[in-house]
Amino acid sequence: MKKILLGLVLLATLIGSQFVAAAADLEVNTPAISAIKNSMQARHTQLGAFYASGAIGLTKDGLIAVKDANAVPLAQRGALTGLVKDENADRSRLYKEIAVANGHPEWQAEIQSTFAGRWIDKAQSGWWVQGAGGWTQK
């Protein structure tokens, strides 16, 4: 009986510690995630001005979108569309890679909606963000 109890306590401790470890932090330091991050960081030097002018904004689903193409000279609009497309591809891959790196691919949608809120919270004042009622300026 004592042995069984001891075994149970040991098992509970083992499972408990794994559970706590899993809940404490998400793994975000994989090569795939770092590569996406670097690519997004480099692109942000180009996107920064477009956020500020209101040409693009942060969507409520954790991506970006062209909000006002007229804020950009005609000649730059093609480049802007390409930037937005590349950024959204990177963002979607980022959410997926974080879910996969943590052994729960099914978390992708929840990770994406978590990021959506954090991007908007951290957006600089003057940038456009999408809420339930449409675009608003921070």
Partner: protein
């Protein structure tokens, strides 16, 4: 004998409960998101950019 069986039953049941309880770690996800956004938008080392610009400005005048 009964106790032994109870123990075995518990051993089988406890992992099942834990499996059901693996929920989405919202707080950890927010923390991870903040870290990544700070990196991508360079929010935590904002002093870096002006310093580089100053060096770039100073370099031509020195030559």
């Amino acid at each position: 004998m009964k106790n032994w069986m109870l123990g075995l039953a518990l051993v089988c049941v406890i992992p099942a409960c834990v499996t059901i309880n693996i929920y989405f770690p919202a707080a950890a996800a927010e923390k991870a998101a903040d870290k990544i956004i700070d990196d991508v938008w360079q929010l935590k080392n904002g002093a870096g950019k002006p310093a580089v610009n100053k060096e770039e400005l100073a370099a031509p005048s020195a030559q």
